[in-house]
Symmetry: C3
């Protein structure tokens, strides 16, 4: 049952990331093909690098074309309806947090499944969750938000560590998945709600 929920949320995560990618396309006033390319690259980028690094090739979407279709549909929808997500930015950031939390746990879980140790598994969770957004920002000509923004990668890092630690103990895998997912989500929601951030390098010396 958890696996069914995970699959459902995985689709949700891909779709939400495709929306954030095509919203970046709307800010650059691209045409509809640009929306589809940027939306799709954002939606499937994290899982693609995960699979390429792990050697789980062909990567996931080659044999599950539905993911591509979902990205295309969402990107086209945003092209015609971008004013809707734009006026719902707070909601979208929360959806994005769900995608982040899910990709974190799924990335780490897939790494463990192919025999990676705990540290690489945490790294794969982080990469899976953040690489799509990095690709989106680089293709849009911006410094990746993940590197300069409020608590984002930090949430994924904490959630991936929680999942991997719990999964290595007597807790069943399902519980570890839920725990890692909830922790990532809670930290990211808290960061959005209370504008949490970590101190920047050289910050105190600016005063």
């Amino acid at each position: 049952m958890i696996d069914a929920a995970v699959v459902l949320l995985d689709w949700f995560g891909v779709a939400v990331f495709a929306v954030t990618g095509s919203l970046a396309a709307s800010r650059k006033r691209m045409d509809i093909v640009g929306f589809v390319l940027l939306g799709t690259a954002t939606g499937i980028g994290g899982g693609t690098i995960r699979d390429a690094v792990l050697g789980a090739t062909p990567v996931f979407w080659v044999n599950s074309p539905g993911y591509l279709l979902a990205c295309v549909v969402m990107s086209v929808a945003v092209f015609f309806l971008a004013h809707v997500p734009q006026s719902r930015e707070a909601l979208l950031l929360r959806f994005d947090a769900v995608g982040l939390a899910l990709f974190t746990v799924l990335g780490a879980d897939k790494a463990l499944a192919i025999g990676a140790g705990p540290i690489p598994a945490v790294a794969m969770g982080l990469v899976t969750a953040t690489f799509g957004g990095i690709v989106r920002d680089v293709l849009s000509g911006e410094i990746p938000a993940i590197l300069s923004r409020e608590i984002y990668a930090t949430a994924a890092l904490a959630g991936a560590m929680a999942f991997v630690l719990l999964n290595g103990t007597v807790v069943p895998r399902e519980t570890a998945i839920v725990a890692g997912f909830v922790l990532t989500l809670a930290i990211r929601f808290g960061a959005l709600r209370w504008s949490w951030s970590l101190p920047r390098y050289g910050q105190s010396s600016d005063l």
Copy 2:
């Protein structure tokens, strides 16, 4: 015989893309090693990501070093003779269109050959045709032209879809290759000749 023509055109496509990469290097006034790096990354970038994603590793140029040599030769030639392609920009754009059309069909064909379904095959055609240019632009510090320029990825998308649709029916593979190639080329040539473009997001509201 079509396979011989395809191999010939494949070399042609790699060489043309290497020229566009080293012309970007000339605009940034790089040294000769910069020309070779940027020319080669542009020439083989698309096929490299295609093979990595499909798991067809080592990627194609590891066992066919001639592709690397062709990129190096073209890049060095551009370093000493860049005024020639610069003064032939119209011709070069048409050569580039041939590379685009060919990589589109070859990328989709290779995906089908390893058992991918039609939708991922279209995606692979698009990725193979456009990724080299994306790498060129990102390494040059520019927003990828593909995302903001006139009809380019659109031509590859249409050609890849035509190839995959036809290839799945009673038409022999050779005919489908020719059809996808010709359609991509025709759309791209038309876009160059008549400055076709798709409407941009928010364009009408600018008026």
Copy 3:
């Protein structure tokens, strides 16, 4: 014994590249997680692309988590002590040259080990040595230094060619490794000491 030295130097190279990555993070005033992400991407980026292209997956750090740990430790150390490497820039550039020289030879050696020919092996040496720095610069929103800076990739190119040429003859592999390493290092050190550079495209016409 050479293999033990190579392993030791490999760790050294990863650690030094992680320092250059986290120094880039300090220039952008990132938080500690940004330091870790950028430091790690720079430290393991070259080897990751090498392994993905060669099909040597899972890539090296999935089964050797110590590399990740080394990157994290160095990045965290730089966050708290960045004034130390900053005031030692000359020293750091020399350490970076050691990493460059080593990754050049190791990348080419690994390519030969999986059966690649001499030209792709030289290319893999170059890619392994430079890709981490390219990732660092792209993620920091800068044009890759390798494409516009003084003799850097050129040193790696020369060293990789020397290694591959010597390795294909009667010279034992160990000697070829040392020769390629020393040549890369000597050229890079000379470039740092005497500000060597290659002529840029269009440079003479500027006069």
